[in-house]
Subunit: 261 residues, 4 copies
């Protein structure tokens, strides 16, 4: 089995090393990851500049680019043969609820899926980005990966996995979950730089709003590994009918040469 | 009515000016947009650096940040009162099918939705990024916006609108669509810089794969305005049951102190 | 006469517009300047990425690069015929004493000199980057330029000009100056970002140390236009003799197969 | 003895490791260097964003900033006690002649000098950035450093050292040199990116023009270690008299209320 490993914390982060070494027990692992912490990079793809990949002494590839760049470059350029699966992580903080839309960890997995491969994003639910039990998250990936390869998910689906930062034997189990919700983000923080000019910092994520039963927040807080299926097709099918009901009258506005007022 | 306008082509792009001026006929418009072309930025949010907003002579805010930064900063800091809707665009190229996951235009609208507002992303289906009929796209937004404000969509849904680059009277009508699909992206392009070092460019997007009836590709190619509802909750609900069926055996692996092998 | 104009405050800064419009009275002016404020960029040259130049509606070129990139690209690529002189500015703050080593304004002029042209860097000695009398600085450039073109300086020399922010008729005169000195820079400012992680800001420049007679600080503070000849050959000729006296004994260390200890 | 070591090739470059390990034989070494290759950064100083320093497992500090940022942060913030000297390198390519104005290696040393310390910049004269004999360059630094500490140079002077990429015993000796000159840089290289948009690459440095006796080019090409004293005061004192002769007539233009025409 061949595995492509990436992340968004950067190629030197502890989580990616634990993950790569664990996966190397069962397959050939290639690591292609950003040279810097790119948390929050989302599915950002570098279109206006070339990217560079440097092979490090330990065989990992260090890329001056985003997590999505890394996976795209690996699958559409760097690697000679196609891997069987893409695994992104182990992120040094949880990716729960609304966080996933910004997450570079999840995006790296999504890019794998776009390019045709099963993919898992995995995060350790640390506080303050300092993890102790990356090995637990690596264990969870091993189990899920084996399952995923024999029992594939639909082509537009990846798994977003969040693992409590606990020793393996203290973890209560696995739970399938939906994404929870946060309250609206805290306000931006206004400040002045040392030269007296105004700056703004994006504020912290909002407090958890919907952490009810069935959510990823809920599972992790109770000591379970949260496994959320995520789709990469953003069509909101349930809204098609409603929006469809508008179309005729809108189209009429064109036929009548009518401009909106 | 108050409207927040952003984009990913940058505050100086022609599309945002046409859009802002058209919307100003019916409401108070605030423009907060990136200082550079940030196409491909996706939902990237700048967490590790402060951002700056400069008010230009024409009243627009120029932000050294991503489209998501712009909308976030506007709604959670810069604006004194909350707008009624967020409109992102008019992008100088289509955002169809798989493109939307990378699109800064769509992401700016999603950020509006995250922060509680209805939102529309609008793109002009130009070739080569040079648009002629931005006014047609502005017209489409006017009509959709009026409808959206009286007949709101569910809280997790935005509209992704693609408008053929045609005079208003040549447009055939509106169609509600699902996202189409592209073939896998072209390979990365390997080159050497003038100093002899290897570089890679992300290759062009793949050719259209699924442009069948009902897709956004199909509507635009036939001269219709494509309106795709997009959700911002990435949970793949249809896969919950299947993944759920795995959970017991996976959890057993923990109970038995079993490590994956 | 043809003039290339650049700066480091960015192509939209007020100073560059005043300068370009004034120079257009006596020659053909081409403006090639950074798309963002690049103060502090020094002679930084972008070697690892391509740069892009966008021709704006007003004919100015906007470059996503450093001031040095702008002048280099203009002279070694963009312009069809070679200008007679390079003028960089009008900077929105003084460039005095030790500041010049970091200054993008001065560097743009140096790059012109490297590529074979006479060059002037000009700054308005504002407080807080908000200038009132850019026209005075433009006047000073006009006078110096006329002189420089008939009575050229040695090939390794440019002029660094600092103009008090006063109406033209209130300026006392021109003075030739040497660079003054600042005290050591203030300490870096340690802070935490909103996520609790340590950051550092480069502190303000040090207080003026040597502002004695003959320095640029002194001239400007007394209401004079300071004109400092700056060389682009960094050899410290006066130290050649001393360092030369070391050479024999150092070379002996090699002859004797001796390693330093 | 305490030594601050930095470079512009990045904290993971081979040259900085050889240098730091060699210097550790005679003193306490602190390494503070950029996280990426920042060749060409010149004296660029990051004023508009905060910078971050990460202490790596091996005790080196990795800074997301320029070489000048690294030395400035180390001396004005990070280090508890002041080092005795700053050494920058070992660069993986020569820094000869006009190159020094752009060089991040030389700039890191200049920043040390600005902040009051003796400083040496050292480069290995490799072809193609792949060095074999970094140990020779480390040896040269050791010898020069010992001399510099007992026999200091004037406060505005640093040493720029270029070492042939040869085994120590094959090096012919040390020579004090002036900076040579290159011909004008090659033209920029115009290209199109894969999306059909124009890009420009800064071209290679010009061929050597003045490599006559006494220049750094000459010394290195003959197998000698080139030692060039460099000043950090850019005043061109020899031109003061000439420029001075212009001042009266220029000042008259102000007195007479005369505007340049």
């Amino acid at each position: 089995m061949q595995v492509l490993v990436s992340n968004d914390d950067g190629v030197d982060a502890p989580g990616i090393r634990v993950l790569a070494e664990r996966l190397a027990e069962v397959g050939k692992v290639t690591v292609v990851a950003p040279d810097r912490d790119r948390s929050g990079a989302s599915n950002s793809l570098t279109l206006d500049q070339p990217i560079r990949a440097l092979r490090m002494d330990n065989g990992y590839y260090r890329v001056a680019g985003t997590p999505t760049d890394c996976v795209h470059l690996a699958l559409a350029g760097l690697l000679e043969s196609e891997p069987d699966i893409v695994v992104s992580g182990i992120n040094n903080a949880p990716n729960l609820g609304d966080d996933v839309i910004y997450s570079g960890t999840v995006s790296a997995a999504m890019e794998g899926r776009f390019l045709g491969l099963p993919a898992i994003a995995v995060s350790l639910a640390t506080r303050d980005h300092i993890g102790e039990h990356y090995a637990s998250a690596a264990n969870a990936v091993m189990l899920l990966m084996q399952r995923l390869l024999v029992d594939p998910l639909p082509a537009d689906t990846i798994l977003n996995v969040n693992v409590p930062d606990l020793p393996w034997e203290s973890i209560k189990g696995f739970e399938v979950t939906r994404l929870g919700k946060r309250h609206r983000a805290a306000p931006c923080i206004r400040d002045n730089d040392p030269r007296g000019r105004e700056i703004w910092w994006i504020g912290p994520a909002g407090e958890v709003d919907d952490a009810g039963p069935g959510t990823d927040f809920n599972a992790v807080s109770r000591g379970y590994i949260s496994v959320t299926p995520i789709h990469v097709d953003l069509t909101r099918f349930q809204a098609l009918e409603k929006v469809s009901s508008w179309m005729q009258s809108l189209s009429d506005a064109i036929d009548h040469g009518e401009e909106a007022a």
